[in-house]
């Protein structure tokens, strides 16, 4: 399109991007589904090593904790080397971890091989996949995110029967060996993650140095915005010109200045709270069903219903979130879906009998899919794709604690009261609270952003802030970075958003 001719390229929003989405689909799918899928082997391993159930369950917990806890390391590596090498290395690590697990002779070795090594490999898969979607998509990012996150339920549905088949035919050792090979497919996914952004740096510097007339200045401003939002190498170059100090150097690798970012803090607190009640209902759905008298197979079928609804809900949510009514107000949509999730849990104890639980599973699957599809999209929306790399690392390590605490707290509630309903009530209350908190705080955030936008517009009129000079560019860049380019998607959308917020 000729309008883009003089501008620096924006994210492709298509073309090779869809191939990247497919790669992310596989990568994210493995990262989320594998810890759950491997639980099928636990019974046999428990008998083989003669350990108790809780000792075996530690394998899953260590894996999950490492996948989330290694987030910052993943972020640092992506900031330094880009997504592709990290994912390929992660895939190799996973493969090595599982292959060595096949030859383990003690439960401790299993903790290390399956828990740490494979968990770390999965962490190196998860974060870069999410990050690279932000680099390839802007206008259609919610759809891309929704599609990529749909990998998790699809992989889970595939892995569960596959694991059972492998186990019946090869025992647990042979299955681990073959699963190691299957995990190597993450390397294929990683190979698809063609780097983007670095090549465009030279073109952009050309464009910026040429800006002379008003039109070109506008174009430059946009270019700089795009540039700052997409191009970490560009950013570091700017900072080098401005003079480096210790903090900036660390921030290059892991942006701790995010903790001063209002949107990031809101997201962090809301999500950390939400994860306390997020996973527990899934863990306890089948035991609850058995508790009220449903047989084993029907109880397992409930989880299948959940997974199938989840599979459909994620891309659908992505499409809805991308529509022009929802995109500017995506944070509200996210808060609504969290609160909806909580409401489902609160109503679950009222469900009686199998039909009631099926209805609950359907709604839970829907709500779960909605939240997951927008989990990373909203963070990208708040902090922008440049700082997203560091943001996702910091968020995952914070979530790590509550994710691990959630099911055990639920389990303790069940054991203390002997009744599952208190666990559901606790999860429901926590999520409704989180949803409400996010809703209110994001409303506040939108208002503040609108105010800041007004102030910025006023400053732009001032001829003193010269854009063509390096220093001015530096400061101005830092401002735009700090405020988070959530208004960047489209000019038209930006105008529309301002009108909305100003009107409220």
């Amino acid at each position: 399109p000729p309008s883009n001719a003089g501008r620096a390229p924006s994210p492709p929003d298509g073309g090779w991007g869809w191939v990247v989405v497919f790669g992310a689909f596989i990568s994210i799918g493995f990262a989320y589904a594998f810890p759950k899928g491997v639980a099928i082997f636990f019974k046999e391993i428990q008998d083989f090593f003669g350990t108790s159930y809780s000792e075996i369950a530690w394998v899953s917990s260590i894996m999950l904790a490492t996948t989330y806890g290694a987030g910052p390391i993943s972020s640092i590596l992506v900031n330094r080397y880009g997504s592709r090498p990290v994912v390929i290395f992660g895939g190799l690590l996973c493969g090595i971890g599982m292959v060595s697990a096949a030859f383990c002779t003690s439960i401790l070795q299993l903790y290390i091989c399956v828990g740490f090594i494979t968990g770390f490999g999965l962490a190196l898969n998860l974060q870069p996949s999410v990050i690279i979607i932000g680099k390839y998509f802007l206008k259609r990012r919610p759809i891309a995110n929704g599609l990529a996150m749909a990998g998790s339920p699809v992989m889970l549905c595939t892995l569960a029967p596959l694991n059972q088949f492998l186990f019946d035919n090869f025992g647990w050792r042979g299955s681990f060996l073959i699963l190691g090979a299957i995990l190597l497919n993450c390397c294929v996914a990683g190979a698809l993650f063609r780097p983007i952004g670095a090549a465009t740096a030279s073109v952009k510097t050309q464009a910026t140095e040429e800006g002379k007339d008003a039109l070109k200045e506008e174009v430059t401003k946009d270019a700089m915005e795009m540039c700052s939002s997409m191009n970490t190498p560009m950013e570091t170059k700017m900072e080098e010109e401005g003079g480096k100090d210790c903090c900036e150097k660390i921030n290059q690798y892991l942006d701790f200045s995010l903790f001063k970012h209002r949107g990031f803090l809101i997201y962090l607190i809301g999500n950390v709270l939400m994860f306390l009640g997020f996973f527990a209902p899934i863990v306890f759905l089948a035991p609850y069903a058995k508790h009220i008298g449903i047989d084993e197979y029907s109880a397992a079928f409930l989880l299948s219903i959940l997974a199938i609804v989840d599979m459909i809900a994620r891309p659908t949510t992505g499409i809805i979130a991308n529509s022009k009514w929802v995109r500017p107000r995506i944070q509200y949509f996210f808060s609504f879906s969290i609160a909806f999730n909580g409401a489902c849990h609160l109503l679950c104890p009222l469900a009686s009998g199998y039909t009631g639980l099926v209805v609950y599973s359907v709604f839970f699957g829907l709500a779960f899919g909605m939240v997951c599809a927008m989990l990373f999209e909203t963070l990208m929306d708040l902090v922008g794709a440049a700082r997203f790399t560091s943001a996702v690392g910091l968020v995952t390590i914070a979530e790590c604690c509550t994710i691990l605490l959630g099911p055990p707290i639920g389990g303790t509630l069940i054991d203390t009261f002997g009744d599952y309903k208190y666990m559901f009530i606790k999860c429901g209350v926590v999520m409704v609270l989180a949803g409400t908190f996010l809703f209110i705080m994001n409303y506040y955030n939108y208002c503040m952003l609108a105010k800041e936008e007004k102030e910025r517009k006023a400053k732009e009129e001032d001829p003193k802030s010269v854009r063509t000079e390096n220093e001015g560019r530096n400061n101005w860049n830092k401002e735009t970075i700090r405020d988070g380019p959530e208004l960047e998607p489209l000019r038209e959308e930006r105008e529309g958003l301002k009108k909305e917020v100003n009107g409220t």
Partner: protein, 326 residues
């Protein structure tokens, strides 16, 4: 021919009811089946009442009753299967309906196999025998036969307890260890024995004799483990675990499959090869498309030199921007 009528019976003196259907998710013991070959829909039988274990003094006492139909059904028999787990005193009785108690010409015989039992307690319209079952020698089939014009008989089968076995074959590898488990549901066996099959024979496994090969552990009262170390191809086959109860024995069958390491290695190598091929294809495609781009840029450079200077710069910008935007 309608000499006997029948009506629903009244429950007998009971101790406590037991829920016989939901002991574990499989046939732990034979459920009560009775082969009613009569068409009488109102034929009811007693539910088994079983004493709670805590109330067992020395021996439990249980009563089992069958109500015989009145319709003209000759040569039919009603079969009741009873499973016992511990020594008990049993009363088996055959009863007719109240209404037809005036039939004095009835002859009732109790038999075990072909042996007739003499001590029959007769009441108004029921005939019963009492048995003390302390070991498996008294198990078997007991029948009561009513003879008038037709012969009706009821058979009680007494058996010991069966239990669940793990149905799936256990897969293990040469040089590795295999653990096989047998569980008994509800009732505690006195002893466990493991057998391996050699051809068509079953040979008991003596773990003290072959201590470095077999280890038998009784993990809990109801669970036994057989651990086989240093597996070889010869260990592949069928194994039996046998539980001895007070009143009989039950067997469970387990299959062990011993594979060599080559077996999973083949799919492993196949998948690794697939991964390597795919990664190579992706990278080759990338190099190819980059070369194509470079060639196109060079082409543009060559052609744009022939234009005027302004157009030239535009063309350069355009082409580079366009190509970079992939």
């Amino acid at each position: 021919c309608n000499r006997f009528g029948f009506s629903p019976s009244e429950p007998m003196r009971t101790t406590r009811t037991a829920n016989w259907q939901t002991q574990g998710s499989s046939s732990d013991h034979l459920t009560l089946g009775h082969n009613v070959s009569t068409p009488g829909p109102d034929l009811t039988t007693q539910e088994f009442k079983q004493a709670d274990k805590e109330n067992v003094s020395n021996v439990t006492f249980m009563e089992y009753e069958v109500i015989l139909p009145g319709e003209c059904v000759s040569g039919t028999s009603i079969i009741k299967n009873i499973t016992l787990d511990s020594a008990s005193r049993i009363e088996l009785s055959c009863r007719l309906d109240n209404e037809y108690s005036n039939l004095k010409s009835l002859q009732v015989t109790w038999k075990r196999g072909n042996e007739t039992i003499r001590h029959i307690n007769k009441t108004e319209n029921s005939w019963s025998i009492q048995l003390m079952i302390l070991d498996s020698s008294k198990m078997g089939s007991y029948s009561c036969t009513l003879k008038d014009e037709e012969e009706i008989s009821a058979v009680f089968h007494l058996q010991g307890k069966l239990f669940k076995i793990l149905e799936k074959p256990i897969v293990s590898y040469e040089g590795d260890t295999a653990v096989m488990i047998c569980k008994s549901f509800g009732y505690t066996p006195i002893a466990w024995t493991w057998y391996m099959t050699n051809g068509s024979e079953q040979i008991a496994i003596n773990d003290s004799l072959l201590a470095d090969k077999y280890v038998i552990n009784r993990i809990s009262a109801n669970v036994t483990h057989l651990k086989i170390l240093k597996l070889t191809k010869e260990d592949d086959g069928v194994y039996w675990c046998e539980a001895a109860f007070e009143l009989g024995k039950s067997k469970g069958k387990l299959k062990l499959k011993v594979l060599s390491l080559m077996v999973p290695l083949k799919p492993f190598l196949a998948i690794v090869a697939e991964v390597v091929i795919l990664v190579t294809i992706v990278f080759l495609y990338e190099i190819y498309s980059k070369k194509k781009e470079k060639r196109a840029v060079e082409f543009w450079n060559l052609t744009s030199f022939s234009y005027s200077k302004s157009e030239e710069s535009n063309g350069l910008e355009n082409s580079s921007a366009r190509h970079r935007r992939i």
